[in-house]
């Protein structure tokens, strides 16, 4: 958000909700896809999210995470990726054979590296 919330107008410019694909960061996507090519196959059915142990008690949505990573929207994911409990239930259910558990692990790894400027 630009400007401080306390200014003479009593309001500021709202923050953009737009995904601007042209200025998005695709490093995490490339990191995952090159190591786990099955990531490309997700067709967003939500089976993994329905099955996910963590997602039933914490804000973690694997289907949505896959989409956001593909669009380069990393910021909303920093907390989410740490919630996976590594149970592997998502793997069992995925109709496209995405190695979902590995995707989560790679996503967490990629984001860690991104934040350390190692990507």
């Amino acid at each position: 958000m630009s400007g401080s919330t306390r200014n003479k107008f009593g309001f500021t410019v709202n923050r953009s909700r737009l995904i601007d694909y042209d200025s998005s960061d695709r490093l995490v996507r490339e990191y995952i896809t090159s190591r786990e090519p099955s990531f490309r196959l997700c067709f967003a059915c939500g089976g993994c999210t329905a099955a996910c142990t963590a997602g039933h008690h914490a804000p973690f949505n694997l289907r949505r995470m896959n989409t956001l990573i593909r669009r380069g929207e990393i910021d909303p994911l920093r907390d989410e990726v740490t919630r996976c409990m590594l149970c592997g239930k998502c793997l069992l259910v995925c109709p496209r054979g995405v190695n979902t558990r590995n995707v989560v692990l790679l996503a967490a790894e990629a984001i860690r590296k991104l934040d350390r400027n190692e990507l």
């Binding site: 196959l41 967003a44 989409t67 669009r71």
Partner: protein, 343 residues
């Protein structure tokens, strides 16, 4: 009674009409096949390769040419069918050149028209240089040159599904059935011909209803890295570099998205053809709410008109792919022959 004594008129020389004429001739009937264009072949004439196996369209074109290469078939081209009316047991077929034919039976196979993309004003077809239709992309495949209007190789192409289909705004609530898989096919072809070009399909639903379609969709992701974004593009515009800018919701992320593109391909759907509409109106034939010809029964009579001796084949009744069109044409022939035999 000799079967060869029967005369059947087939109105429309596209895939359905050619198959129907061929099948009738093979059974010994005399057929007059009437095509309003100078050459038979219909929309297939323009197509480069076919889904799902990407075989050259020419192979099917050759099959159909062989099919109508039969001395029982008279081919009239450059003339349309204006009206069909019943007189006694016979059908009178009025042609656009003023002449008239009589027939024992007739099959309407007037096909479809591609949706006129100008009508989706928000996409700027005919205004922005690099907004083209799926048929025009097929032309580019034919010439082997996929370039922008100023001759550059595109680095990002978007394909919009459902242009003119499933859209109340253009009075078409129906699904055109073939455009999803056409988009997948064309996306793969672009990726093969231009490996450096990113391809995005913007879809509302992926309707992969035919054999090997779903597999093609999977292949497009697995082997060709085609990207899919679920959402209806709301508008296209151009920026100062004459690059297209589109707005869409990424419905799976739940966020609006903008993206620049070098080329936008509109997957235009099928509509009842204008020629078929005029013929139906002049002949008093019923049409459904989707404006295609209404058949006698949706389940077990979808080649049958309410006029005895008049049958329907192919996409004049509903959108369908080539495989189904050929089957539908054969079924129309079976119905016609049954009628001729019992008359």
């Amino acid at each position: 009674m000799s079967v060869a004594s029967k005369h059947v008129v087939v109105a429309g020389g596209g895939v359905a009409g050619m198959e129907a004429a061929g099948a009738l001739a093979e059974l010994g009937h005399r057929v007059t096949l009437i095509e309003k264009e100078q050459k038979p072949g219909g929309h297939l004439k323009q197509w480069h390769a076919l889904f799902p196996d990407r075989r050259p369209a020419d192979e099917v074109r050759k099959y159909l040419s062989r099919r109508i290469d039969n001395r029982n078939i008279r081919l009239f081209t450059g003339v349309g069918v204006d009206k069909i009316r019943k007189e006694g047991h016979e059908l009178c077929i009025e042609l656009s050149d003023g002449s008239e034919l009589t027939a024992d039976a007739a099959i309407i196979a007037t096909g479809f028209d591609l949706f006129d993309a100008h009508r989706k004003e928000e996409y700027g077809y005919g205004i922005y240089d690099n907004v083209i239709t799926s048929a025009e992309l097929e032309d580019m495949f034919n010439t082997g040159k996929i370039t922008t209007a100023d001759g550059r190789t595109p680095s990002r192409i978007g394909l919009i599904h459902c242009v003119g289909s499933r859209d109340e705004k253009v009075n078409n609530n129906h699904c055109s059935k073939v455009c999803c898989v056409t988009a997948v096919k064309q996306a793969i072809e672009v990726r093969q011909k231009l490996p450096g070009c990113e391809v995005f399909c913007f879809y509302m639903d992926m309707r992969m209803y035919g054999p090997y379609y779903e597999e093609l969709y999977r292949e497009s992701q697995e082997q060709h890295n085609v990207n899919y974004i679920r959402g209806k593009v709301s508008e296209a515009s151009v920026n100062i570099d004459n690059r297209l800018v589109i707005k869409v919701e990424d419905t799976l992320a739940g966020r609006p998205l903008r993206m620049e593109l070098d080329m936008l391909v509109l997957m235009v759907g099928m509509e009842m053809s204008k020629a078929g509409t005029r013929l139906a109106e002049a002949s008093g034939l019923d049409r459904g709410i989707n404006r295609f010809l209404e058949t006698g029964d949706h389940h077990y009579g979808n080649n049958i008109s309410h006029l005895k001796g008049l049958f329907y084949a192919g996409t004049c009744t509903a959108p369908m792919n080539i495989t189904d069109t050929i089957s539908h044409a054969r079924a129309a022939v079976a119905e016609a022959v049954r009628y001729l035999n019992t008359r």
